[in-house]
């Protein structure tokens, strides 16, 4: 079955000016993300992964090139339009969870549902990630894996099409990482989301449908992964 393109990065460059020096973080990168796929973007630190993620996530404008989401060019979008895009179309999962320490697990999920147009019930979102009963726990009372699951619940609760995960297991041990990855893959399938996962850890790459390798600010290779590795077999 031919999948339609959800988001398309076209010849995007992003150059940072540090004083008088220009540092190109991304050079003429092009990449399509297909609706419903699980794409892993892999690359060493400093390769431009996060810059690419920022463009895909509507957090930054490219210096040149286009980022098309369902036909709309995010490169030309206003800040307000990008805010709307992030609010309704994208769910984020960060390496360090970024939960508000003042809020309980449930309230952290409500942070996303409050402003979404078609949100899930925050309690149900927590149940989806296996944290029913943890509603009143504060981040400081939970383990890293549990905190990351709250973050996933928060990302899903806004009911976005696209789930962006930036090194979601970077701060976790192997066993917990496997649980989190299993959860992500399961939810993607169950809820029909498009999942983009960024990592420097090549051991994880094999679980995706497609694997993009990024190096020196450019897409180095893009390979179809006909037989994704089950998460249980991932090890490092």
């Amino acid at each position: 079955m031919e999948r339609k393109i959800l988001l398309s990065v076209r010849n995007a460059s992003r150059i940072f000016r540090m004083g008088e020096v220009e540092v190109p973080a991304l050079r003429d990168a092009s990449l399509d993300i297909l609706d419903g796929e699980f794409m892993v973007i892999i690359g060493p630190s400093g390769s431009g992964k996060s810059t690419l993620l920022n463009l895909i996530g509507g957090m930054d404008h490219p210096t040149s090139g286009r980022v098309l989401y369902e036909g709309i060019d995010l490169a030309q979008a206003t800040d307000q339009a990008l805010t709307e895009y992030r609010r309704h179309q994208v769910g984020f999962v960060f390496q360090f969870y970024n939960l508000a320490p003042m809020l309980t697990a449930l309230e952290n999920v409500q942070v996303a549902t409050e402003i979404a147009s078609d949100p899930l019930d925050p309690g149900e979102a927590l149940a989806l990630v296996g944290l029913a009963g943890y509603e009143n726990h504060f981040p400081s009372q939970m383990s890293g894996g549990e905190q990351q699951r709250v973050a996933i619940a928060r990302a899903l609760a806004g009911n976005p099409k696209l789930l962006l995960c930036d090194e979601p297991t970077g701060a976790l041990d192997l066993a917990t990482s496997r649980q989190v990855l299993t959860l992500l893959v399961h939810l993607k399938e169950a809820l029909g989301k498009t999942l983009v996962l960024i990592t420097h850890n090549s051991a994880i790459a094999g679980i995706g449908d497609r694997i993009a390798t990024i190096r020196d600010g450019g897409i180095h290779s893009l390979q179809e992964n006909a037989r994704p590795v089950p998460v249980d077999e991932v090890t490092w």
Binding site: P101, M102, Q110, V111, E114, I115, H137, S140
Partner: protein, 793 residues
Amino acid sequence: MSRALRHKLIRDLWRRKGQLLTLFAVIAIGVGAYVGMAGVWRDMGDARDAYYRDYRLSDFVVDLKRAPSWAVEESARLDGVVSIEGRISQSVMIDLPGVVRPIEGVALSLPDYTSPRFNDLMMRTGSRISGPGEAEVILNHAFAVAHGLKPGDRIGALLLESRQELLVVGTAQSPEFVYLIPASGGLAPDPARFGVIYLGERYLQTRSDLDGAYNQLLGRLSSRHATQVKNVLLAIALRLDPFGVTLTTPISEQASFRFLQDELAGLEVQSRILPMIFLGVGALVLNVLIGRLVNQQRSIIGTLRALGYDRFSLIRHYLSYGVAVGCTGGLLGIALGVWLQSEMAAIYRELYELPGLVYHFYGDIALVGLLISLLFALAGSGYGVWRATRLQPAEAMRPPVPQAGGHILLERLGFLWGRLNFRWRSILRSVFRNPFRSLVSLFASLIATALVFTTLSMVDALDYLMGFEFERVSHQDLSIGLREPVDLQTLTEIESLPGITLAQPELLVACDLTNGARQKRIAITGLPTDNRLHTPLDQFGRRVDVPSQGLVLTRKLAEILELKPGDSVTLRPLTGRREQVVAEVSAVVESFLGLSAYADIGYLSRLLGEEQVANRFLANSVGGEMSEKLLSRIRERPAILGLSERRHALAQLDATFGETMGSMIVVMVIFAGMIAFGSVLNTALVSLSEREREVGTLRVLGYTPLQVTSLFAGESLLLNGMGILLGLYAGVKLSEGLSLLYSTELYRFPAVILPASLAVSALLMLLFVLLAQWLVFRILSRLDWLESLKVKE
């Protein structure tokens, strides 16, 4: 300090320049208030002391009917008296060419052959009187300036029954009239409507029927008796009683002396309290700031310790922030203070005729200002420094432990908590988990609100006071004072003057009131039964009628004499038959100016041995104005001693106090605004920098800058809103306290709490808070939130 650390200090400060700017302003205001007020206090105190010393201000004044010079010399031998000099003091109506309105004044005599022993004149222009018996006059300088008079001009003066033509030979000022108001009282100088003129002794004696005698004595006490003024004055009054002593006044109760004294005392109190408030708030804000700095620099502190820097050099380094802030704020404050001092000196020069009141720079005051600024700044940085040096190297290098979770007490109120959305929960938890910072916010807006409200309330109090005294108690358009009591036939004459629509008589009699050991000499006002123009009111504003027998006392007088309605008081008039009687106090009424009492005019007349007499007439005129026709008719009557128009008196008070009050409001609002603005901005920025990551996350999740700001603003609005409410309460209490403090025999300040002023204070404060939040919003909109999300751990 090592050079690297010094550079770090400078860069750390530079990076926080925005926050520091508001802090500098708060500290500078504190130091400036101290330097300016303490400076002008000293300028004025020194000028006063020198003036009183060099021009020999007398220690007391005795007024009597007529004392021959031998009696004056004899009284100088009384124990405790160093010397006494007699003079003539005569009420006078001054008649200026081209001025229709006669001007009230007082004529004082100068010895013919020497300078006066007391209250010498400081000549401003012209010369002294050339010889005994000459029709020459020296004018009070301010009075001369107000009327454009100079040596060589001629003026007319109505002395007793005859008009005198006088040649102006000079203008002068005297330590006796630094604050130029009539002995009968008043609130503000009005040199256009009240003047003092000086005439030769023999000249004035002849025109006052006092040949070889005096009606006022000035004297000096021996230093041993300086604290026993009352006893010495009692002895003098006893010795001179046969000569009709009407009033003994220690200098401390003389109006001009008292006004200046009160002003200096108030200034001294303010020069201590205001700086404490501002520096206190500054120290608290600095504490929050340094605490945050140390938190942010944990890993740097760890690294420095690991590199071998000892605790002492770290203490020195972080204390340097306090020193830098204290010094900068202090120096700015000294500059502000210098300006404030010279401005205040200029305002005081308008109100007080005080030669030598000029700006001086006082090194010691500036130094103390700098030192207190440093002291507060060091106190403000102390806690942060202590925390910084307590960190162990290894511990300091680890990221800070995430803020401990846990529910706050408020969450136990399930029914309430359950209704709150996550924004309010987050706001409330943040408030209660940073109790110190929250209290600083609360306290700062409390102080600022109280400051604004108290200032407004003082203006309201003055308005109320003037409205009460000059509109509700007195409703006459003009009052005409006579030299001697006259029978009521005069009333018919007054009523028939052109333009007069209504008139009523009054009788003012100086009396001694005695209750046991408590005695007070005051003027009792006799009111007619069909009294319409002068209505005493009780403290609730209800009209009180005077009884046909007995007295109505004003509140302060009743307090001094410890009398209440139903009590009896001994009353002795100082004129007429001077017979002592016992009178009942029938009621106590409110009054904010001077001390007075009321009685029935018939009752008071009979005490003087007369049927019914009056020495003052109140009248209403067409349009409330005095026509030229009316004025010229009044001028023809030599028996007239004084003439005053209520509207003019009110306008004069407004002019004098309006300007001062206006600038006071502006200054106080700016000061309070700096406190509120500084505190709101600093706490918001500190909490913003702590929660940068949260801000980034919210932005990624699709929150707009406005939505994020509202989360932060909620906390600020909650704390400042509570601070404002508490501040209003504190302001009310403060106003009540001030009204107790400003309760003297000369004047009282009511505590006036108007809802409008409460609302204006609250709205002004809210405006400052919103302004600061708007700045936070601007900062937040420009914040590089992507950067804040980068992994720093």
